[in-house]
């Protein structure tokens, strides 16, 4: 039959091997392009300015690089958390704790990253004794990662071995970790990090860290046993168990990795801000989940990818900077964000239903 490759399946159906499945990420990318286009048009009409393109008329660039940089820089820290949320949600769970884990990790790590002397005086925000000052940068990094690891491990153990729903278990961690971050210095901020620590979040470093981790986890989810089992558990936990996957152990690993990623976000954030405060990271978990969901990761588990999440993060960044560009109040931003999150979930369910009837 012409050039088409056909095979007879069960029930005598034919199958057109050339017809490719349309990956969901294409839709998300389409949404990104659409949103950028909307801002471009609104910019031209309302502001008489281009959103995306360079309006300064220089010859060496087409795009407004400053804006693009801001967009991605804005989302890269929450994006790091979203990478963790992506694998948690694919495994059929949810993690509400990373925002608070960012808070406590930033506080604790920063305590080990402080300089002893500020302008010849003792560091006014010293959280710990002299022994903790001017340490090599590896110290705060190790301590910070350990914080995230412990928080994630506790989440994972509780979820895997007590069968408490992830929503509740990580809600507990969210509240407890926030408490811990306030308790650490009785609410006082911790500032004046060492030069090496400052480098973690300086300039475009957060972007590189985000992109590096995104590529790493894209590969991990797609090409490793860890990734395959994460999808399998989210898809059908009983089937995964009967296939011999050690579901409990795997879940512990998934939440632990999410905790580690939250810790990395905390290190970058506190370094970028040159300070750590107990209130850091509030609502980050929700933004991360939103990026994930906008990126087409199914809340019921089993489907989605890091590519989607990165696109979801970009959509997020475009909306934030688009609203700033149009000089609209932050209130509108949040309202629109809320609408988009719900719309993404509705879209996902609609897609599932349609796939089921195809």
């Amino acid at each position: 039959m012409s050039g088409k490759q056909q095979a007879h399946g069960i029930g005598g159906l034919t199958f057109d091997a050339k017809k490719r499945h349309w990956p969901n990420e294409v839709n998300v990318f389409g949404a990104l392009v659409l949103i950028v286009a909307i801002f471009e048009v609104l910019g031209q009409i309302l502001m008489g300015q281009s959103f995306l393109f360079d309006s300064a008329g220089r010859f060496d660039s087409i795009f407004n690089e400053a804006r693009l940089t801001i967009i991605i820089l804005q989302v890269s820290i929450v994006g790091i958390i979203a990478i963790g949320s992506t694998q948690v949600i694919i495994s059929g769970g949810i993690d509400l704790s990373p925002g608070s884990v960012v808070g406590v990790t930033a506080m604790v790590a920063m305590s080990f990253a402080q300089v002893a002397q500020v302008n010849g005086n003792a560091n006014p925000t010293a959280a710990l004794g002299d022994w903790a000052h001017d340490l090599p940068v590896i110290a705060p990094i190790a301590v910070g990662l350990a914080c995230g690891l412990v928080a994630g491990l506790v989440n994972g153990m509780i979820i895997a071995y007590t069968k408490i729903p992830p929503f509740i278990a990580t809600l507990g961690m969210m509240v407890a970790a926030r408490g811990a971050s306030k308790w650490w210095t009785a609410g006082r901020p911790i500032s004046f990090p060492t030069e090496n620590y400052k480098a973690l979040g300086a300039g475009l470093t957060p972007v590189f860290i985000f992109i590096g981790l995104a590529i790493l986890f894209f590969l991990v989810l797609r090409y490793t046993v860890y990734g395959k089992h994460t999808y399998a558990i989210g898809s059908n936990e009983d089937a995964a168990r009967m296939s011999g996957i050690q579901v409990e152990r795997h879940k512990v690993l998934v939440y632990t990795i999410a905790g580690l990623l939250a810790a990395i976000a905390a290190l970058v954030l506190s370094s970028k801000n040159l300070t750590a405060q107990a209130g850091m990271g509030v609502m980050y978990e929700l933004d991360a989940i939103a990026m994930t969901v906008i990126g087409g990761v199914s809340l019921t588990g089993g489907r989605g990818s890091i590519v989607g999440t990165v696109l979801g993060a970009l959509i997020f960044g475009v909306i934030i900077s688009g609203f700033t560009f149009l000089r609209l109040d932050a209130y509108y931003q949040e309202m629109v964000k809320g609408v988009i999150i719900v719309a993404a979930v509705v879209l996902d369910q609609w897609r599932q239903r349609r796939a089921g009837t195809r």
């Binding site: 069960i10 490793t224 296939s243 996957i245």
Partner: protein, 277 residues
């Protein structure tokens, strides 16, 4: 271990106490499972020997699937003993049972909807390289796909596109994937829980062919089925479950459909199992 088995065989009221020990692939003694107050399985003494195909029949809720779940350690039994391959076993979970050599098609399929055919076939035993990476070892997609095609070829199961998610397949296709999975991996014992319940005429014939291949290869099989013709065609022996207990153990030559139905419905009980009321 072997001596353990011997004493127990001579001591218990085993249906085949004359069997050579080396021939026994699987044996259970007093296997019992209670779900709270529900006595789903009570004191099951069962035995299957090399090359033997044994059918398990019984009404809905008789405890057949429960029996399978205890053997494969999907659940932990309330009490009772299991010997497999010459030694007493206490599997921690289905993975261990499978490593020991028990392949199972579960009644509720145990497939991951969002994964495709090769991923499902190899779920929990992926072909990998760079194994030093532990859980992050890398999947060998190419090898798995090739093995899948070969496996499907061998079992004559036709799936139009093995790359698509199982979600989009018909019930029969899914069933064929699950059966191809057990048939692809050589095992010491295969268990199929109602493998043809959802299948059309042609697909049923295909599955029955797979079962015949197993017979020719001398691989033992426990087949749970409600289909009398199929059981009489494919199996050497029929074990009947009733209300969580085994109530009959019949050689094919010594029985017929009506006889079996009488045991299933409770009209008859073998004297050895008289306590199974």
């Amino acid at each position: 271990m072997a001596s353990d088995l011997q004493t127990n065989i001579s001591g218990a009221s085993a249906p085949h106490s004359g069997a050579r020990i080396g021939d026994v692939v699987l044996r259970t003694e007093g296997l019992t499972k209670h779900y709270g107050g529900v006595h789903a399985l009570e004191g099951a003494n069962f035995e299957i020997r090399k090359g033997e195909h044994v059918a398990i029949m019984g009404d809905n809720g008789a405890g057949k699937s429960t029996f399978v779940r205890q053997i494969t350690a999907v659940e932990q039994r309330t009490r009772g003993k299991i010997w497999f391959d010459g030694r007493e076993v206490q599997f921690e979970g289905p993975l261990e049972a499978r490593h020991a050599g028990i392949e199972t098609v579960f009644q509720n399929l145990a497939l991951a909807d969002d994964l495709n055919v090769p991923d499902n076939l190899f779920l929990g035993r992926e072909k990998t390289f760079w194994n030093f990476l532990g859980p992050f070892r890398v999947l060998d997609y190419k090898a798995m796909r090739a093995a899948t095609m070969a496996g499907l070829e061998k079992t004559a199961v036709k799936i139009p596109n093995v790359g698509q998610a199982i979600r989009n397949m018909s019930g029969g296709q899914r069933q064929c994937v699950a059966i191809a999975r057990t048939a692809t991996f050589h095992s010491k014992l295969t268990i199929m829980d109602e493998p043809t319940a959802a299948l059309g005429v042609q697909e049923t014939a295909q599955v029955e062919n797979i079962i015949r291949t197993l017979k020719e290869d001398g691989e033992p099989l426990i087949l749970i089925s409600h289909n009398m013709r199929q059981v009489m065609d494919l199996c050497d022996r029929i074990v009947v479950f009733r209300r969580g207990r085994i109530c009959a153990n019949l050689r094919k030559e010594e029985t017929d459909g009506q006889d079996i139905v009488a045991y299933i419905t409770g009209a008859k009980t073998q004297p050895e199992y008289a306590d199974a009321t």
